[in-house]
Symmetry: C2
């Protein structure tokens, strides 16, 4: 898919170059004849205060400071530099993103301040409805690479580093009213204004789900986070309480963060917590069933009509939930059972496990399932156990058709749990 190209004008500034990529270079920002909305500063830390001053004089509105070597170093010089640039920015009414960050990527406007050469990334994700915020630049790049690979679309992203001016609450407030954003995922080391963060979250989650992967949960992690973005990680318990009181969904790692965001972005909210499981591997059925309890989900009790119909399955299949279609399951058996389970009023959401090495599973099986899944008004997700390259196209086909696909059944069930958790919160606060 083609990315939106940035349509505004870009002015390279460098005292030692005349031309960069066929674009004339200015030696100072004040030499630019037009007005400048956004300045991206990627210089050594020592040079930054002087350049921020020049930006202020030029009337720049927003600055992204990529440079590290400020408060996160833990030394006085770094902290002083931060104070100095904040003072200058306030004087001129400028907003600062960073320092120690990679800034913004917005596939809608084409703005991209990431200093990551294009040939080093998988390409950027396409337009979508997930916003991602991360203090860490490398974490954000990692997440975006996964998105691009999996066909997961993005609305807005921002890496905001030390957050000396624009912080998590400002960004959340913006995303609440951003019409392209349906769900917000965050990687958080620490927050700048705890009380304001709390209040902002309470408002935002009334409108859209917020999923947070909070790190610095242990002494060692907190120490590492302090030297990374200068963040005070805060007490685990207080964050836990805050997230509970504000309806935030917590993600235990980056994979879960993205998995949950993707599920919210593509699936409707379920009516309740009754899950139907269809599989051609009994073991995967057990793993999925085991994961329900921790996610406050239940194995759906099928209606008597469904149970009766399931008895027409071959004898070696399991005609109850989880429905084991057995190793010889084929397209027809999958299609028939998936339609049946989806139509059961006692089923609120469905997980379909397909181990593609089953002798009768073809690409057509996946295509047929996708057609059934796309017509569903209930959340439906899939699990393909295999990592075999030959089956990679099955996964991509599911994901490009907006059906979340997982390798581990536990991870799949976790995303359904998140939908139910938010549904309850949403009903509670409306």
């Amino acid at each position: 898919m083609i990315l939106q190209k940035y349509k505004g004008t870009i002015y390279p500034i460098n005292p030692y170059a005349d031309e960069i990529l066929n674009t004339p270079v200015y030696s100072k920002i004040k030499d630019i004849p037009e007005s400048v909305d956004l300045a991206i500063i990627a210089l050594t830390a020592q040079q930054v205060p002087k350049i921020v001053q020049e930006c202020g004089e030029k009337g720049v509105k927003v600055i992204i400071i990529v440079t590290g070597g400020f408060g996160e170093t833990g030394n006085e010089v770094g902290t002083e530099r931060e104070n100095e640039i904040t003072k200058i920015a306030h004087k001129y009414g400028m907003q600062i993103i960073g320092p120690n960050c990679i800034g913004i990527f917005d596939p809608y406007s084409g703005i991209n301040s990431f200093l990551v050469p294009r040939e080093r990334t998988i390409g950027y994700p396409t337009k979508g409805n997930i916003a991602l915020l991360s203090q860490s630049g490398a974490i954000l790049v990692t997440l975006l690479e996964w998105c691009a690979y999996r066909g997961i679309g993005i609305s807005k992203t921002c890496s905001y580093g030390n957050a000396i001016d624009v912080n998590e609450s400002d960004l959340l407030g913006y995303l609440k009213q951003d019409t392209t954003t349906k769900v917000i995922g965050m990687y958080v080391e620490g927050v700048k204004e705890g009380r304001r963060f709390y209040k902002t979250l309470r408002e935002v989650t009334k409108a859209k789900p917020v999923i947070i992967c909070k790190v610095g949960k242990t002494e060692a992690g907190a120490k590492a986070s302090k030297s990374h973005t200068g963040s005070l990680a805060g007490s685990v318990e207080s964050f836990k309480a805050m997230f509970k009181q504000t309806g935030v969904i917590t993600a235990k790692d980056l994979e879960e963060l993205l998995d949950i965001c993707y599920c919210f972005a593509t699936q409707p909210l379920p009516k309740g917590n009754n899950v139907g499981i269809i599989t051609n591997s009994g073991g995967h059925g057990v793993l999925a069933a085991d994961a329900l309890e921790n996610n406050d989900l239940r194995l759906a009790e099928f209606s008597s009509k469904t149970l009766e119909q399931l008895h027409s399955l071959p004898q070696h299949c399991t005609p109850s939930n989880p429905v084991d279609l057995a190793a010889d399951a084929d397209t027809e058996r999958y299609e028939w059972v998936t339609k049946l389970i989806l139509s059961d009023p006692q089923v609120d959401s469905v997980l379909v496990v397909t181990i593609p090495s089953g002798p009768n599973i073809e690409f057509q099986t996946i295509k047929t399932l996708v057609a059934v899944m796309k017509s569903s008004k209930k959340p439906i997700i899939s699990c393909l156990g295999s990592t075999f390259k030959q089956f990679e196209k099955y996964k991509r086909f599911l994901e490009w058709n907006k059906i979340p696909v997982h390798t581990l059944p536990e991870r799949a069930i976790r995303t359904l749990g998140a939908l139910v958790e938010y549904k309850r919160w949403y009903q509670h606060v409306q």
Copy 2:
């Protein structure tokens, strides 16, 4: 890599065919002129007892029954069939693997009873030192596909289904003395002889590590496991206590099971629990540091000599543990720091995180790191955050060189925790 081809004679038996794959077909087992060591039965459940009787008369030593439709169905007919075939087998002194399983794959002898067409799998894993046991056939195939893809070598594997005769304790006893096996991984739904399993585990873990992913931990999971392999999942608490008392390492999911096995298969046991972390992404450093506590690991306190030397890193790097080499880290910086940290006597094991989209990371960086890692006498593992296809070769290069590589830092740290846990157990029981 070329697989060992099975060198014995294979006799296809089917009353309706004359020839299969250029091999003459016998209509009954008793028509085979030579003696038969192993019979693989893949017929309908109704036919199995009669065929088992014929195997007994022929003097077959071991039978693998692939067929499902026995005790796991929960109906009387299935259970009676199981009793009948067990009786026949005992009468003739035959051993049974299964029913409801896919049996054995042994890359050393080339025996492979899996009914998975070769073109449907990634190919099978090569010879190695990890044994895998699983009641579920599909779970075992899933694990082996991962192994093949990641270049993880296998010693022996067995899917033993309903375990009406040969069970987990028999298999563990065999693997204890199997010289090709260094580490044993198991997927367990239930066990047949609890007391014997306990005693066997206590003996086996004195010789080699055993890692178990136990399922059926919740009511829903136990129900699913009952209808899958007819296993009674047993109480979570009693299994937890058993594993603790026998030095078994528990894996929370299939990925962790394989990750830990691979770490044991390739890495030496560490002296203690002090971990050094090297990264070019501060965020990944925080995630790794956070994961230490739950695994009973610590951030190593570097020696004063190491700390002193780290101060020659550029100012925007973090010269303490986790060592953040910053986004502009290159091969030279990685090599120098990795050697330095590995040589610190206060460091027992090392995690090296390399986010490959960093502008100065080349394939050469990975090659150089692998050379340093391979010369290490301490456990060393790696984390490559990216799933970008271009960097897939980096991962494969690490894994083919026996350096475990992970996408999530938490998963990497978990494997180091398992090494330390087993080291303590091993010292305790010697």
